[in-house]
Symmetry: C2
Subunit: 342 residues, 2 copies
DNA sequence: ATCATAAGTTCAAACGTTTGCACATAATGT
DNA sequence: ACATTATGTGCAAACGTTTGAACTTATGAT
């Protein structure tokens, strides 16, 4: 293995000089710099990252902790797009990305503390944090840089990036109302997620504002899985008074809803309209194409990294949480049949 | 920051002893071990990973290099499932996972060499390597442990895990033939990928075996994107003699095919049958549900990590490439209408 | 000519571990 | 009782960097 000493010897200078060449120290003569760089190139020298980190106490690495269980997360396109934003920005900023997940949820704090105390990363990104997440408690107590993707009301001063989820759901519901619907259902996610809570809130606000009924039986909770949407439909459709439109917490779930409706013999949007969230690439390819609120998934990831780097460098965060704008994409699934015909 | 020396001082022993306690050295008295462990626990001590790596020359980290451009990859469920397999097994084996991607494809070798020469990872996983990938050249020349996910015929002695892709396509095509189809089309991926090539081969083999016609116009190449499938349909369906069944290289693409057919007014499977590959979670939720060859995506990732660890430890690979079994899942999209009715 | 400053380089300590070797003490065999 | 071996611990060097301080030589200013 070729080390800084080898380069130094070959160039006839001291290791310190080589080090300074690498880091573009101002007081290195152009000539020395050129010579050393040539030799480094020739020898294929790359500094040992570990040694460097040891003394500099910085790793140029960001950690991302995947929530348990990971299945659900990975089965959602949403996550891929988020990850793409994260990886892209991290790479652009010359950071590597370290992915970990705990073997069990009881092991989560231990896993992160190994990363943090072992000084393996400079900061961490937290996903889908629970209502009272011990991870957040640990990190803030440790005063270790971290950023939340999705807000946590229990720790309002933690840095986070999020959408205005109340508004996203308000917009989706408002859209259905504007299409003339009066009975609107909601297929939600896990109730302990702030996300579910916020979207439910926005849904209710829109209905209230128009003096529309909000019946408990028109709201059903589930997971972020297709099956949840599928099951929700048998529930909804056996109701004496069925909703004529449904807001669905996630595109993935909406695919299940679509399937469920199709099996029960209902047609979208003729019999029932649909709007969901996240606007994954496939929602355009559903039949019918799904109306969906684009939450700027890529930006969410991208911005989270930016924020984290800011936290790491100690710069103040101007605005917290950072709100990523959203936009309702109307497609066939929520088009009023008459409108559609025109 | 609490170091090994702090623990040593507090426990009244030398740093060496603490180190040996951590690594469960046999010649440590149970009493000392207990005492030291108690203090470590109390102080929340975790060894500094960098320092440890520096001397041990091992990082307990696996690298994964994402191909450029990353968009396409991340938009495919397939990747999420693969990553899940990788992360799961890596975690289970006490390895962390470092994800990188190059900023441009010309930068790929440089990126990997920073990882490798900088001794930042113990081995790397390569994805979707191209026909004559400079990354493979670099790694094998460097004699650095790596494993390919998906085979590369240019480097037959590189460790790899893959499916028998000729067979997957053979099976898919054979299935359509058994349903009575005589004119079968193929929507392929990028032609420079071994995967595309192999599947095309299997498709041809099955047709040949049954003396069925293989027309050039029934084969179309594209990307792993929905749009490719969509576009392929306008091409196919404007043909004077249209295929009655289509094999599609990927579920994602098949969604586009489905959409294209639906817009053109064709019904699946009544007018045309479909089989695709990868069996992503959503294929079950398509309308109609997609027949798909399950290639064991999770196992692919899982096994790749296992192989990589074996390469790292210098153990011999019994079989190369490691073949992950596949299985055709027949759903409505390829069911013979009469059969379906029964 | 002299002195202060600037420019370019080297020295040596430090970062937090691991580990071969040496050492002290206890246990065992003769 | 004595030599041998086993057991438990400590010493110090090493891993490959970075960086403040010191040093040397060149450059200007007076």
């Amino acid at each position: 293995m070729v080390t800084i000493k080898d380069i130094a010897r070959l160039a006839g200078v001291s290791p310190s000089t080589v080090s300074r060449v690498v880091s573009n120290h101002p007081r290195i003569s152009p000539e020395t710099s050129r010579k050393v760089k040539a030799i480094m190139e020739e020898q294929g020298y790359h500094p040992n990252v570990m040694a460097k980190s040891l003394v500099s106490k910085t790793t140029q690495t960001l950690g991302i902790m995947l929530p348990r269980p990971a299945e659900e997360l990975f089965q959602n396109y949403f996550f891929g797009e988020l990850l793409r934003g994260i990886v892209t920005q991290a790479t652009r900023m010359n950071y590597d990305l370290l992915m970990t997940t705990a073997t069990s949820s009881s092991d989560e704090v231990n896993t992160i503390s190994r990363l943090v105390r072992g000084r393996r990363v400079d900061g961490v990104l937290l996903l889908a944090s629970k209502r009272d997440d011990p991870l957040i408690a640990f990190l803030s107590q440790e005063r270790f840089p971290f950023v939340l993707i999705g807000r946590s009301e229990a720790y309002p001063d933690a840095a986070m990036v999020d959408n205005n989820n109340v508004q996203t759901a308000y917009d989706a519901t408002q859209h259905l109302i504007s299409q003339g619907h009066k009975r609107i259902g909601f297929v939600s996610g896990p109730p302990d997620l702030t996300l579910s809570h916020d979207r439910l809130l926005g849904y209710r606000q829109a209905l209230d504002e128009h003096d529309l009924e909000t019946r408990a039986e028109w709201i059903v909770e589930g997971e972020f899985l297709q099956e949840s949407g599928f099951r929700a439909m048998s529930q909804f459709m056996s109701l004496p008074e069925r909703p004529t439109a449904i807001v669905v917490i996630d595109d993935n779930v909406a695919f299940g809803v679509l399937r469920g409706l199709s099996e029960l013999g209902y047609r979208v949007p003729d019999d029932i309209s649909l709007v969901s969230f996240n606007n994954i690439a496939l929602s355009e390819m559903a039949s019918p194409p799904l109306s969906s609120v684009d939450i700027g998934t890529y930006s969410l990831g991208y911005t989270a990294v930016q924020s984290l780097l800011r936290v790491i460098s100690g710069e103040p965060i101007h605005q917290n949480p950072v709100i990523i704008p959203h936009r309702l994409i109307v497609r066939e699934s929520s088009m009023n049949p008459t409108f559609k015909r025109s």
